[in-house]
């Protein structure tokens, strides 16, 4: 029985980014961690539902933006995502 089809390269990048956010959230205090986790999870799920999966240009843009936000969040002086939330 074949299991789930292998993940594509771009899917792996998205999942690695999600993992990166969750790892970084662990380093914050518990309340902040919880808040970061809900914001990040909502953002990823929203995009997973609404972004056309063939729209590589846009997905790559989101990946770049996410990576930049993650780098900012890694800064220990940054406690939360308040400045990173994206207006729709």
């Amino acid at each position: 029985m074949a299991s789930r089809p292998k993940l594509s390269g771009i899917q792996k990048q998205v999942l690695a980014l999600y993992r990166g956010f969750l790892r970084t959230a662990r380093l914050k205090d518990p309340e902040e961690r919880h808040r970061i986790e809900s914001v990040v999870s909502a953002e990823f799920r929203d995009n997973a539902r609404n972004v056309d999966r063939r729209n590589f240009v846009y997905i790559e843009y989101l990946l770049r933006r996410g990576k930049r936000q993650l780098e900012q969040l890694k800064n220990p002086d940054i406690t939360g995502l308040a400045t990173l939330e994206v207006k729709k």
Binding site: S3, Q11, L15, R19, S41, F44, A48
Partner: protein
Amino acid sequence: MSSHDAHLTREEVVDRVLDVLKSHPKVDPSKVTPEAHFEKDLGLDSLDTVEVVMAIEEEFKLEIPDKEADKIDSLPLAIEYVANHPMAG
């Protein structure tokens, strides 16, 4: 050196991995078995799977590299990974 650093028993690994899965908000605990596949049996998507694998890391105080984590899509694979990991605690 001391006798208390004996490796985890397989039974202990299985129990704790099952508990981690059962406590994920999207999982129906009655469907969790040591043979379950995250997606096919538990209805998890790829983002849920990332969350579950990270929760397993935390439970056993491990860090699973992305390359390995991407392959873990079922309880048997998760149990295997933890049981074979020398640092699992």
